[in-house]
């Protein structure tokens, strides 16, 4: 009875975890050689469904068919044998090993000699080269993985799936840490794979990406299936509406702020690291959102982290309100009313095993021991008040203030970290990729918060690798390339092309 038009079918899958029903009767059918997008807000159950398909979870109810034959996966190894591979959200390559070892680990070609297996390096190199050439991935098989960029690591990971002869490759947010140019590399590879008859299940929050790459789109919400449509019948608004279950007229809040006088001046700032940025100068006004665009490797994060005192500068000056200031550590920066929301929330944002309340109040408490103590001992009442105020204002969804932050969704974690900074009432707010890995609804809320800050007269810097966000939110856009500031565009006149042009100005020039 099973329909073998589909290479993979998930039928009526349900899966519960203690306290939550993560999946409720969800079905998904993937055609051979097609890109099938899976969409939904964070917590909609996309990743859970894919973990069922890849054998990491066993569904409570429902069946899985591969090529029309029913299968039961006991684990990922089992799924791989059935031609299903998964590219994880967070890639964990073996960084100190070579590309070819990463691809074939566990299956290294070998010769038997004196009763032992000896790695056949020649054969290993040859088969890796063949694989990469076939996929047109321009990477040396002998390169150490730690020398590669994130996007290249991802391509290697995909090549690994292909090496298993995978017929279905699941990609969970593959572009979340890639720039648009790098993402384009990935899309090329996806198109090449589908021509070979490989199917891709593609999870992403980026709607424009989904519309350009996928053939079919399945949308989920709160663990339930909303429906499946051909991508050609969808547009951005309908997808958003079906994902959030409510009308979302605008992706960005209306601009209602006017830039005032100069707040921050950066003059000829040069990093102490010779590989990093050189001679960067710009100004930032009160009530202004200055976007910083550029490719990965443009040294944008390095620039703002140097301004914030996390990295050392070689030369250059920083002026706040026209006065020269010396920043050698984050403490100095905080004292001068700067705040920095870092790029990697998990690495340098949240304190995972610590409560929401402490995550919100830690910076203020450190900046001034007097605020929350009666001399020596901490007064929890005042900390709770401050936290409650922001939980309400930012609409942070948490079971209670004592909950460990690691149990919150990405968007809510981001709001907690943002609250930590707003509690210090900074005048200059630097946001490094503030919406990375956050779903559409939470993104809009972060944008609204940015807009509100600008209205309050705060000076905002936003690094973003997402073009629509950069164009939609910024009053001006500074574009960096290879450590240089290649130009500053007026937000009203900026376009995709202009930003991309500036972002690649120095690309091939000898500097």
């Amino acid at each position: 009875m099973e329909d073998s038009r589909y290479i993979l079918e998930l039928k009526h899958i349900s899966k519960s975890f203690p306290g939550v029903k993560a999946l409720d009767d969800v079905s998904l059918a993937v055609k051979p050689g097609k890109v099938h997008a899976l969409m939904g807000e964070n917590g909609a159950g996309k990743s859970t469904l894919m973990k069922c398909a890849f054998g990491i979870y066993q569904p409570d109810k429902g069946e899985i068919f591969v090529n029309g034959k029913p299968v039961v996966f006991t684990g990922p190894a089992n799924a791989l044998q059935n031609g299903i591979a998964m590219i994880h959200q967070e890639l964990q390559p073996m960084r100190s090993l070579t590309v070819m070892e990463n691809i074939w680990v566990g299956r290294l070609p070998h010769r038997n000699l004196l009763g032992s297996h000896w790695v056949d390096w020649k054969q290993l190199y040859a088969q890796t080269k063949e694989l990469l050439d076939d996929l047109e991935i321009p990477i040396d098989p002998k390169a150490k993985v730690q020398t590669l960029s994130t996007s290249h690591c991802q391509l290697i990971e995909i090549a690994r799936s292909v090496s298993f002869d995978a017929k279905i490759i699941i990609m969970d947010e593959p572009t979340s840490s890639l720039t648009e140019v790098e993402a384009e590399l990935l899309f090329k590879l996806i198109r090449r794979l589908t021509k070979k008859g490989v199917s891709i299940i593609y999870i992403s929050h980026k709607i424009d990406e989904i519309l350009s790459i996928s053939d079919d789109v399945t949308i989920m919400r709160d663990g339930q299936l909303i429906g499946e449509w051909p991508a050609s019948e969808l547009d951005m608004d309908t997808i958003v509406k079906r994902m959030v279950g409510r009308e979302m007229s605008n992706r960005f809040p209306a601009k209602n702020h006017t830039p005032g006088s100069v707040k921050l001046e950066v003059l000829h700032l040069t990093s102490a690291n010779p590989q990093s940025f050189k001679d960067v100068s710009f100004t930032l006004h009160e009530g202004e959102i200055l976007g910083i665009g550029g490719l990965v490797g443009a040294q944008r994060t390095e620039l703002v982290e140097t301004i914030f005192g996390l990295r050392k500068k070689a030369s250059g000056e920083i002026l706040v309100d026209g006065k020269h200031i010396d920043i050698n550590s984050p403490e100095d920066a905080i004292r001068n009313n700067l705040a920095l929301l870092t790029e990697e929330r998990r690495v340098s944002g949240i304190f995972p095993k610590i409560s929401v309340m402490e995550n919100v109040t830690i910076a203020k408490q450190t900046a001034d021991y007097g605020v929350y103590t009666n001399g020596i001992f901490i007064n929890n009442g005042r900390r709770r008040e401050d936290t409650e105020q922001f939980v309400k204002a930012f609409d942070i969804k948490t079971p209670d203030l004592k909950a460990e932050i690691q149990n919150l969704s990405g968007g809510n974690q981001q709001k907690v970290v943002l609250a930590r900074w707003m509690l210090l009432t900074p005048q200059i707010l630097i946001l490094d990729e503030p919406t990375r890995g956050i779903d559409v609804g939470a993104k809009y809320e972060i944008y609204s918060l940015m807009e509100r800050m600008a209205q309050e007269g705060k000076a905002v810097i936003m690094i973003s690798s997402e073009m629509p966000e950069l164009l939609g939110m910024s009053d001006r856009i500074a574009v960096m390339c290879e450590g240089h500031l290649s130009g500053i565009l007026d937000g009203r006149e900026a376009t995709d092309e202009k930003v991309m042009f500036l972002a690649s100005t120095y690309q091939n020039a000898e500097v």
């Binding site: 914030f308 340098s348 610590i354 001992f377």
Partner: protein
Amino acid sequence: MEAKKFNIKKILSNYALYFIMILMVVVIGSMSPKFFSWRVLRDILMQSSTRIIVALGCLFILISGSADLSGGRTVGLAAVIAGSLAQKADYYIKFWNLPEMPPIVPIFAAVLAGLIVGLLNGFTVSKMKVPAFLATLGWMMVVYGTNLLLCNKPPNNSQPLGGFLKNFTNLGSGNIKGIPIIVFFALGMCILVHILLTKTCLGREIFAVGSNAEAARVSGINVFKIQMITFALAGACYGLAGALEAARTGSANSSYGTSYEMDAIASCIVGGCSMTGGVGSVLGVFLGVIIFNVINYGLTFIGLSSYWQWVVKGLIIIIAVSIDMRKYNTN
């Protein structure tokens, strides 16, 4: 309904430690009913006291996300220093040619010695960026060597130190209304450390650094300062424990404190500390130490060879941590 069932399971795994302890006491007690006596409880508490203080030092370190192998040897050095300053004027091998001093002097000197070792550890880890495991291994050897050299000083020539003043040994073996003074020290330290960790900004910053040092730095916390303070506090705990150990036993030599650091780490881990930092409580550590001493004492009490202690202690560590891991994995 489902949520409630889950909670019972959670309680079982959260309080596994208590169940293990109750089970042990019941088994030992049923084999030898004399186990339930004030004398036994007193002995266990007395033996646990210095171990608790060492484990509290270790607790600071583990919460801050570091490791410290120098604890045991620092206890040894502190015991010798304290002992050498607590001798009677007419003792026949007098370590220093000094008059008799009030007990506060040897205690202060021991704490100071521990503090200095702690600062050296902290500086090596935090400033020189040497991994804590190696930095403290290195200082552990230096401390032990220093202790051996010190003990070998004529006229002592590596003999155990003895002849301590009564008012010094009293701190370790005396009692007030039947309760050993040393137990007051241990409980007092527990309360102090608990308050410091939970009620002060410093305590919360130690947790923050242990939970995510990079985020702490970004949030304006001086991570170097916190790590220095953490190691110094730990060192001070080891120092105090050393002085009390000398007072309790009425003697001191260079082998005092051997492998105490391992017992302390084991007690912390069994008491719920995480090896990756940011998690830990005084109550857990207290119970961890007590459990190990109940094993020590109880097995001897029912006539089992003391060699069995090692097997049982090892198994307890493995079981406790396995339960803990299960707890995190199901999340």
